[in-house]
Symmetry: C2
Subunit: 150 residues, 2 copies
DNA sequence: TTGCTCCTCACGTCACGTGAGGTGGC
DNA sequence: TTGCTCCTCACGTCACGTGAGGTGGC
């Protein structure tokens, strides 16, 4: 419905910090959708929503270190959620159905948050260990200034 | 000097959450040291310090998502630091040299901390976005309870 | 028409996984 | 002696990188 600018694969790659090859590969393995009407050999065309979707996938890949197979499951859940959003915005009347849609979304987000928090906790443990080591070195350095020659 | 129990590759792999193949591969590409006196075909033997070293490498790999080439550079720096620690403990007299050793260590730890904090910041941004989305869904869910049928 | 980006093979690479066949220590 | 874990090839796989040769839109 909106008159959005159309993007080519190179621009999408640059904006998401990846390469055209990676985008094509993700399409090949089904992580990204194939445009239905595209002629073989013709340019792939994208819009802003494609950029956002890819950005999210790449962030999950990089930050959570999950395989593309797991990412594909996550993407499937994400697509399901997009469908639900569409259903939602198309105006569902039934309040029971409305509640179901929202709770589906909440559970999905909850799952992702759990993964992220586990990672963050691991990072914080590592950070704390390094800071402890740094403290020890610094205190030795101070001791060194105090006792000039042993 | 200490009478430590000797470990085989399978036990090291299990304790570090990896596989024998990975350990052999890391040795092959020079990420892990090759034992000098080992006969071809004989068992690889490890001790607790090897386990610790491998654990640290694997954590950096998993949490920071760096390549084995970068990891090798980090490991080289780590080896250099180990050598410095040894020099330190062997009793360096020169206070200037002592200061140098400590400052080398501090700069190395500082570099790792920077990497870790960058990652943590990215994770926290992602977490914040997901929490915002969750808040929106929850508030809609509450609105739903308030207005039974639109 | 000239660049530029795009396209599709297709082979290469990195970081391992996975048997195949064989040897060595409780 | 029997298991068990280990060993060394060596080929397979996943997630792309990297040209090779060719086509399409400002």
């Amino acid at each position: 419905v909106s008159a959005e600018r159309v993007l080519r694969i190179g621009e999408v790659a640059q904006r998401t910090g990846t390469t055209p090859r990676t985008i094509r590969y993700y399409e090949e393995i089904g992580l990204l959708p194939t445009a239905p009407g595209r002629e073989p050999g013709s340019h792939r065309l994208y819009d802003e929503s494609d950029v956002e979707r890819l950005e999210e996938l790449l962030r999950l890949r990089d930050l959570l270190g999950i395989s593309l197979e797991e990412l594909r499951e996550l993407a499937a859940a994400e697509s399901a959620r997009a469908a639900l959003r569409k259903e939602w915005h198309s105006g569902v009347e039934d309040p029971v159905r409305r509640r179901e849609i929202l709770e589906e979304g909440l559970s999905h987000i909850g799952g992702q948050l759990e993964l992220i928090r586990g990672r963050r906790a691991a990072l914080e443990r590592l950070e704390a260990e390094l800071m402890a080591r740094r403290r020890r070195l610094r205190s030795r350095l101070r001791g060194l200034s105090g006792t000039p020659a042993g």
